[in-house]
Symmetry: C2
Subunit: 539 residues, 2 copies
């Protein structure tokens, strides 16, 4: 599909001679003031991207060629949008916008309206649970991948809004060291464990849960009084005998899109209070509304984010995207977006006919918070051989209102100065007779700016990225809502686990010939045991 | 230089038809057992890389063409190796191996020996300081970039070896929210602040220090009794009137190579004890020795790491490298290596004659710990359109010895099963009539495996990566030890900070025409203030 859009050829022609940001006079204040848009407390500035009016025209046409608003409407109305025609696929609705919808317009679909109501019921259940169970001062979340990364990133982002009488911990991994380190910090008597697994069958979660339950039992505590579950209705873990409360999610919420469901609601409402959580949902819902109803392409923030990304990816041929929020509270944000984008759009099969596509999809996403990256890998972004586009996120005021004037400026102003300086220096570059001090420039970026990192702006930011992922998937003609690529590894891992088990039981490996390579790996790592002396062990 | 090596053409010819790992019979146990090497408690398995004996021959020749051992010898002997011929450059020695050298051989240079002695003096000073100042239960480290990221990553990695009566915090950013969040968790009476700045002039560090000193003074505490400094001798912050103790580093230690200096010693000895720190240095020193003295290329672990990286980068044309340790304690490790590699080798100028080079250097480095990535961006690594080589890090035993047998296997075994399963599934792939469930495979990776995450193995691992960076720089013919690329952003940021200052003083922006774009950004962000209503603010 993608390469058959009339706009594709137009943009490809324009990409032969794209705007040069280093050229005298190109990057000026008029350009900055004319290239921005606003939505839900956010402003996007994209004057430092390598686009001009013709490219913007081409991108606008591409949005139309791909019929993105019809598709967004279908998604928000919960038609089946998780599919690949021509082969067996998940064939599911997509519901992450419906579950957080506030004030749905009359013309919204009945399914979306019902889903909004169902979510409201879960939220009320949670509100009641929190009111009735004030004995809990610590929460441990057992989740992995989509069932924890977004919630963790956002709970960190909202640190300034945390209740100071509570703590929140994520036992995301089966790594036994991680759980041991959490147990150092909590009082099990006052702890509630939230186990999160949509399918109720994830290896890591089951292992964590059993390990944690044992600790409670060793302390003479009944896990039933301390464990709550977030899972799909009817999953193997939907068992009220085992849990103090069960909160539901649905199969139309993919893990990476699940922050707004009970997956995020349970931990974030616990640590910030339900009122903060509702403001968060309001921000997300407002951005969903904007994404669907702002039909002027260059005024639609997530759609412009999607299109600028596609310009950099498919026409300027950039393999990566760096996400850099200038806020240390957002230090896990790039990780969540990495999951959201790469799991959604790291695909190679057309949604329309299951054919293999012949163009690039999701770039590699990475990033850290600023200014930290500046003192580190930004060296390569300025002077290396790979061109890396950047999306900055910045705030006018600090979250907690604590700031300090030092040598005539506030720290928050220093942060912003750095953000602006990076965008300018990467765009303009700098020539020098000293080649080692030359900056080629012409390296594109855009900025997302808002007042402060509030629950509302954070909700809107999450929904921005989710809508970018959806729009890009629509344009590339791929299914952004399944994740077949994670299956093969799981399958083989389970086989190897069985092999270990066999080894424990029989005292030797099964020798199953299809496991030849696995067995070789095991032999190699086991042979380490015979190796070096004691001095190599932890003291 | 690089493209003129005789081995370059040989490898380029071989890269036209590289080994296909998906081919029946290619990936078998013989291959796994024949493609590994060992050093300093570690084993590297590289049977899942796309190399055969001819490629290994070519890479071995390339190591010789680049004369890597002579250069490594010069580096470890502290000759001036931080230079770019033909333009003004830093012209410094490189000393990160010398400062941690244990039992230097007689033939080591006098400079290296003297440096080892000087470092020993600083270490003794630190040992004495820790013995005399047991009143401190919390340490806050003020550092940024190279002055903190490695130390933070390693202190997290060694969590299982921490003293339980102490806490360690890193205030790495000028973000005021970060410092506020640390102050929530500590008792200033029992707190020592370690300020780390080689130059003594970094904006972020100065701002942090002033902010923190104010908090001590507000509590009626004299900062002089609570602040220690790690800096270069003679720097503006080398002032004994202001600090309880000053520990020295030297200009021949680049920030990103400074973990083994007082930059890492102060926080890690505080939290783990000096004995653990010395074991760490021993591991690093042993790996340095191996890197220099194991002249058989295919048995030299960092050299093989460097060469396999160059094969993937320059011949198989891969833009990125993903680092995935299967240990949640190493969750910041990829971030440190991102800094180390990208700041060292994200360069475009030949070291020999300052000419612009016409081949690729450092790839984009990213990664997280496993299994977390598997549930996230690994979708794109398995089925996306960018081929991403992976370096796994794995451990046979958990760090703290706490593990649980669940359904017949231990959690650590499940971790390893997952690691092995990823390597196998990415290499072999899987065909299917369902295109959406097809895995193209042929995606390369290698593994670093050891017993357990001990101080010794962690030291060796750090030195492995540092030696890979050095070897790759030698082969690419670039200077891995300067960082001119971070300067332009700093320069412009300082200008913008001045502009803010001017604005505070005069009530308006200076209107300096060279700051036109900066001013436009400022106007845009300021205009947010007039925007949306209260509901957008944090509650």
């Amino acid at each position: 599909m993608f390469k058959k859009y009339p706009s594709f050829n137009k943009l490809e022609a324009l990409s032969k001679d794209p705007l040069d940001l280093t050229k005298e006079g190109v990057l000026n204040s008029d350009r900055i003031h004319s290239m921005h848009l606003s939505a839900c407390s956010w402003k996007m500035l994209f004057g430092t991207e390598r686009v001009d009016s013709k490219v913007l025209e081409g991108l606008t046409e591409m949005a139309k060629d791909a019929d993105v608003f019809t598709k967004m409407q279908k998604m928000q109305d919960m038609e089946v949008m998780n599919f690949v025609n021509g082969c067996k696929s998940e064939q599911r609705m997509v519901g992450h916008t419906a579950i957080r919808a506030r004030d749905l317009p009359k013309k919204a679909s009945d399914t979306a309206k019902q889903t909004a109501k169902d979510s409201e019921i879960e939220l009320e259940k949670l509100e009641h649970f929190l009111k009735e169970n004030t004995q809990f001062k610590h929460m441990v979340v057992c989740g992995i991948g989509g069932s924890y990364l977004g919630a963790l990133a956002i709970s960190k982002a909202m640190k300034g809004l945390h209740r100071t009488d509570r703590t929140l911990h994520f036992a995301s991994n089966i790594d036994p060291d991680k759980i041991a380190s959490i147990l150092d910090e909590i009082d099990l008597n006052k702890t509630v464990v939230a186990v999160i697994s949509k399918s109720g069958g994830t290896m890591e979660i089951k292992a964590q849960e059993i390990m944690l339950k044992n600790f409670f039992e060793q302390k003479g505590l009944d896990p039933k009084n301390h464990f709550v579950m977030v899972t799909g209705k009817g999953s193997p873990m939907d068992n009220p005998i085992l849990y103090k409360e069960i909160f539901y999610m649905w199969d139309f919420i993919g893990g990476r899109y699940s922050v707004s469901s009970m997956v995020g609601a349970v931990p974030i409402s616990f640590i910030c209070g339900i009122k903060v959580w509702k403001e968060f949902l309001q921000g997300a819902s407002d951005m969903d509304h904007h994404a669907l109803h702002e039909k002027e392409v260059t005024k639609n923030m997530p759609l412009m984010g999607a299109l600028l990304g596609i310009w950099n990816r498919n026409f300027l041929k950039m393999d990566t995207l760096c996400i850099v929020p200038y806020s240390s509270s957002l230090d896990l944000w790039a990780g969540h977006i990495q999951q959201l984008y790469m799991e959604s759009n790291g695909k190679s099969v057309s949604k329309e006919d299951a054919s293999y596509i012949d163009y690039d999809t999701c770039p590699i996403i990475f990033g850290t918070c600023g200014t930290e990256g500046q003192h580190s890998y930004f060296q390569a972004i300025h002077q290396g051989t790979v061109i890396v586009p950047i999306e900055y996120v910045g705030f006018l005021h600090p979250q907690r209102g604590i700031d300090e004037e030092i040598e005539g400026t506030y720290n928050q102003e220093k942060l912003l100065s750095n953000l602006f300086a990076q965008a300018i220096s990467l765009a303009r570059g700098k020539s020098s007779t000293n080649h080692n001090q030359t900056f080629p420039g012409n390296r594109p970026s855009r900025m997302l700016l808002t007042h402060t990192l509030s629950a509302y702006s954070m909700g809107a930011l999450l929904a921005y990225y989710e809508a970018v992922a959806a729009f890009q998937g629509f344009i590339w003609g791929i299914n952004s809502f399944d994740q077949e690529g994670v299956q093969l590894g799981k399958l083989i891992a389970n086989k190897i686990v069985d092999e270990y088990k066999h080894h424990h039981e029989k005292g030797r490996y099964s020798g199953d010939p299809t496991l030849e390579v696995e067995t070789a790996f095991m032999k190699e790592i086991k042979s380490l045991d015979k190796g070096p002396s004691k001095k190599f062990m932890a003291s």
